[in-house]
Structures are given as structure tokens and as C-alpha cells.
Symmetry: C2
Subunit: 352 residues, 2 copies
């Protein structure tokens, strides 16, 4: 079996150690004699898993007092709706930096006026809008920290006069951020945190309870906090596997080390994209994502040949998203530098 270099945009690569720890729990969970697949979510052993997962996220992200962590099903797309239900009374400000940001805006529009204060739609989302001012009379400001499809990433976050809400689905735990700047952070687990099936929501508790509408139970952050993510049956196996990954991240050096590795991978690949005459980066250099490097062939007729070359090297998942075309190498937390080196070697040899 050839070793696979997994550049999938998500669900994405996990360390082998995490895969093995997940298997262990499926075989016999916490010495219960039961599989994690068949254990009650209210068993003391699984309640301990949820508590440990909350604690390790608080630790890894260095969350100040006053923040809660909950685990929900339904994906980040569910949060586009849920956050509007919980936070949007009259109007909100959004930046429009890609397909997901646009979807977040679309869902929120049903609840109030949406002020798009920055957009890069004019250039197919190939840059991060800057210089916008966040109005002080909106209920919150929403941004997307990393745009998976287009390969752009916010390198800094604004000081916001209103609660700052961020979809961090594709770069959470890959770099150090000042969590205290944010009032709500959400992220589908399936890029940097764990397998698909669970969404992590981090909430500064004091922003809740401000809207006048009646919020449906399953949409109500306050209820999920009160019930400690057990308002209904949570996605047990996805949470368990995510915990194995978070423990691994902590063990190898935490978010600081994830950031170091991420910068190392990105530097290696972008250097090749910039120096190799056959390739061109797709987005504004200063906004390049350390997670998803998007690039194109200068000569599109070489596509078939290049595809054969990277496939032969055991590379998987670098075809660009159908909305963006070209190539996209996703380099999440678990991707070894070695895999990036293999891709760089393929690109270099392809030029020879």
C-alpha cells in the first residue's frame, strides 16, 4: 500500500495515533466492556469525556472566565441560522469573503437587516477586505477567519465595538488568537479538531438573552449550555475522537506548536508556487491562507500531466473546489511537513 499524502479540504487528515486511540475506544470504551458506539451518552464515563473535551478546549485556546463550550450536531451551516436566532435583534454587520460567509449572510437576513461592510466578491473572493468600520449600532459583527474554498485568511482581527462572532471552521487551533476579543466562535470539527459530525461552539455567556424572540429549544445556546451539550443525544463518537486529537495536540506542544508547523508547511509550499514558473498563486499574497494554498497552472493544457504526476506520488485531495477551480492543498494541523515536501518535489520535477 502506497503511503497517502492527504491534502483533503475536510474532513481531513488526522494523526495515526488519534485514529488508533479512536479504535481503542470503539473496541472497549474506558474499560466499560462496551464500544463507544453503543454507550449511553449519560453514562458517567461519557459525561467525563464531554467535560474533559470542554476543559482541554478552554486550555488550548486560553479562554478567559465567562466562556462556555458546547458540542452540537448539524455542522457550521447550522450555526449560520442558530447564531442569528440567538443574537440578531435588529441588524448585524458581516464581511463577505467566500461561499460560506455568503451563506451565513443569507440565513441571517431572515432575522434582521444585514449590513455587508466588506466584501471581496468583486474579485472572486481572492483577497480579504480591509479598512472597513464596524458600526457600533449593530447587534454583532460576523467574519470568517479562513476561507477554505478560496485560500484566504484573516491575519488579524479588528477591535470590535460590538460582539465579534467568528466562523473559525477551517483554522481553529492552527494559530494563537486572543480569544478574549471574540464573543462567539464556532467551528465544524472536521478540519483541525477531529472527524466530521460535531461542531464546537464557544460562547461568551453575557451576550445571550438579549433578543426578544422566542428561540426554539434546539436552537437555543443558553439551553445547550444549561444541559451541558446533553439537551438531546450528542454525536458521541465524533466527540470522543475529537478529544483524542485535542489530547494529541496538547501533548505535542499545543496551539503554539500547531502554528509553528503550519507556518513551516505554508512557507515551503508558497515558496515553490512563487519560484516555479509553471504555477501561480490564486490570491493576494498578504492574505494567503496557511491552511489552504490555492494555485493554478500557468498553462492549463498541462493539467492532465500534472494530475498524473501528483497522483503517482500518493497525493490525495488537491483538486480545487468546483467554485474556484485550479488546485488547493489543504494543510491542516495533522499534515506532516513530509507530505508538503512530496508535493513540492512533484511540482519541481514537473518543471524539469
Amino acid at each position: 500500500m502506497t503511503k497517502v499524502h492527504n491534502f483533503s479540504a475536510g474532513p481531513s487528515i488526522l494523526p495515526r495515533e488519534v485514529v488508533e486511540a479512536t479504535i481503542e475506544g470503539i473496541r472497549d470504551f474506558a474499560g466499560t466492556g462496551l464500544s463507544i458506539l453503543e454507550v449511553s451518552h449519560r453514562s458517567k464515563e461519557f459525561v467525563a469525556v464531554v467535560e474533559e473535551t470542554q476543559a482541554i478546549i478552554k486550555e488550548l485556546m486560553n479562554l478567559p472566565e465567562g466562556y462556555e463550550v458546547i458540542f452540537l450536531g448539524g455542522g457550521a451551516s447550522m450555526q449560520f441560522l442558530m447564531l442569528a436566532y440567538n443574537l440578531l435583534e435588529t441588524k448585524a454587520a458581516y464581511t463577505k469573503t467566500g461561499v460560506w460567509a455568503a451563506n451565513a449572510i443569507k440565513e441571517a437576513k431572515a432575522f434582521g437587516e444585514i449590513n455587508v461592510i466588506g466584501s471581496s466578491e468583486d474579485k472572486n473572493y481572492s483577497y480579504i477586505p480591509k479598512g472597513y468600520e464596524i458600526p457600533s449600532d449593530v447587534d454583532y459583527f460576523h467574519c470568517t477567519s479562513n476561507n477554505t474554498i478560496y485560500g484566504t485568511q484573516m491575519k488579524s482581527f479588528p477591535d470590535s465595538p460590538v460582539p465579534l462572532v467568528c466562523d473559525m471552521s477551517s483554522d481553529i487551533l492552527s494559530r494563537e488568537v486572543d480569544a478574549s476579543k471574540f464573543s462567539l466562535i464556532y467551528a465544524g470539527a472536521q478540519k483541525n479538531m477531529g472527524p466530521a459530525g460535531v461542531t464546537v461552539v464557544i460562547i461568551k455567556k453575557d451576550i445571550l438573552g438579549k433578543v426578544s424572540r422566542k428561540i426554539p429549544s434546539i436552537m437555543n445556546y443558553a439551553l445547550h449550555i444549561e444541559k451541558e451539550s446533553m439537551f438531546n443525544t450528542p454525536p458521541v463518537i465524533s466527540i470522543f475522537s475529537m478529544l483524542q486529537n485535542l489530547k494529541y495536540i496538547k501533548k505535542v506542544g499545543g496551539v503554539k506548536e500547531m502554528q509553528r508547523k503550519s507556518e513551516e508547511r505554508a512557507a515551503l509550499l508558497y515558496a515553490e508556487i512563487d519560484s516555479n514558473p509553471l504555477f501561480r498563486g490564486s490570491v493576494a499574497v498578504e492574505d494567503r491562507s496557511n491552511m489552504n494554498a490555492c494555485f493554478v497552472l500557468e498553462d492549463e493544457t498541462l493539467e492532465e500531466k500534472f494530475n498524473s504526476a501528483w497522483k503517482a506520488a500518493g497525493i490525495s485531495g488537491i483538486k480545487g473546489h468546483r467554485s474556484a477551480g485550479g488546485y488547493r492543498a489543504s494543510m491542516y494541523n495533522a499534515l506532516p511537513l513530509e507530505s508538503v515536501q512530496v508535493l513540492v518535489d512533484v511540482m519541481r520535477n514537473f518543471n524539469k
Copy 2:
């Protein structure tokens, strides 16, 4: 390690073969060299999993033409809201047969007038209301086929003049039903179908598109059907593991065989409850669930002793739900008759 007899109310027991097949996919999914935990949901191998899972559900439930099967995150509680979003224009009829039915009613009330045409709330949900008439001027009629907490089960389904909507979370695939009677069936997977994390929704397509409201994307059944459960990232591992279980059910004889086994288990346990003077069944005899047998000790002071006895026999998960008290033995598809025999022996010896 003592063998565990897993009577958990859900997430619940799975066949060891299914646990092993899940492990196999986590180790190396479909020969991709990748774990199912880290594979793209848009890979051809996982798309094939989704298609096979849809097909096997259609086959096992003998669904006629015109029905669609989708897989969603968020649990059955999410469906309480989602079905109302999609189907409730002015009013709907519900039966109130337990905590979950009551929650379904509560969520729907935000969308229209709810006519509770049958309720067993007066006797702590210890029977199934009968003899009600379903009005012909409502948008749909909603019922819960099996009440997990209280241990009651609908033994037949009414002929409905309006679309029949059913929460089958706790008895789907445990007995043969005439699927053509239903317009919408939904079920959290974690009782009879697979591990927690995925909800199966079966929809007769012609009931959609009848409400005038704008439905949020993530709540829109038609959109999930159109996108073949890939509107956003689905709960990959939960779907994969569920498929392993559905294949197992098919292999051992399908729903007919599940029903035979279920009746055999229930007959054995209820016979002991009825003949043993120390115990008493909690619900109306004709409405007893074949899935969840609820019973109490005639003399509550014996509780501690009885608890020690079943624990010593390796029995797990028979404490009653906090809303109902007493004991509840959940006997889902994968529970071996042997486990029921162990419980019956404990009860019998306890009487000696």
C-alpha cells in the same frame, strides 16, 4: 472481563460484527489508505456509502416509489423544528404520548395552531391514546411510534386523511410497518440503526413545497434531498457505521427477523414481570413496548438489593429514566435473547 448485557436506552447495543466492521473502516476505508475519520465526504468512495445506505433503507423498509431518504445531524429533536418549518402552514394534529411527543408539540407551536387530539399525560403517559379522530383540515398528523421513556408502543397506525408524520426513533426497523401509510418518518439512528450522530429522514416527496414561508437552507428538506445529504458536511463516521449495521440486519433476515427476535425477547421478559410477585409492569398491557420494558419493584425497599443483583450479573443500563423511575430494560435489535434470559434469571432468583 465480565460480558456486559447492554440494556441501554440509547445509544444502544450494536452487534460485535458491526463494531468490527466500523473499526475496519477506521483503519483503512474502502482500500483508500485513509481512515473513514479523515476522508472527504465528496470522495467517490464515501458518496457510494451514502447511496448504499439510502438503497438499503429503501429495501429494508420496502419503501414505494416517491420516497426520499436523507441523513442529517442534530438528532430527532432537530426534526421537531424542521418538520414544522417544512410542513406546518396553519394547523396540525399531534398525539401527546411522552416527553418527546410533548417536545415535538412545543416546537411546532411557534409555527401554527396545534390540535392535541389524543394524550396520555393524565396517567403519566402509561398508555397509548386511542379512538381519536384525525381532522381532515390540518396540514399533517404527528405521532410517536414508541415512547422510550415510558415503555409504550403504538401497535397499529391510523388511516390518516392528512399526511402521517411519525417519530420512529426508538422502534424503526424493529417491526414490519406499511411504509406507504406515512408521509414523513424520522429516527435518530442510535437505538436500532447505528451509533449516535445521524438522523434518518424518510420523506414522501410530494408533501414538500406546500408552505408559504421561506425555509432556512439548513432546515429545508427539499434542499437536502436535492444535494443528496451533502448540502454541508454530513456526519461521515456515523453514517458509515450505520451502514455496517443495516447490512448486518439485511444479512440475518431483514426487518421480519428483527420483529421475530423482538417479540421473542419481549415475551420472555414480560412473562417474568407478570409472574414474579416482586415486580409489576408500569404501563397498560396492550400498549407495552417491545423495545423498552418498564417495570417497578412492588416493594421499593428492595431496590438496593435488586440493583446489586443485576449489576453482579453484568447487566448495564436498566435504571428507569428520571421522568419515569423504576426500571427500564431496552431491548433493541442487537440485544441477544441470552441477555434477556440473564435478566429474567436475576429476577427469578431474586424472588427465591
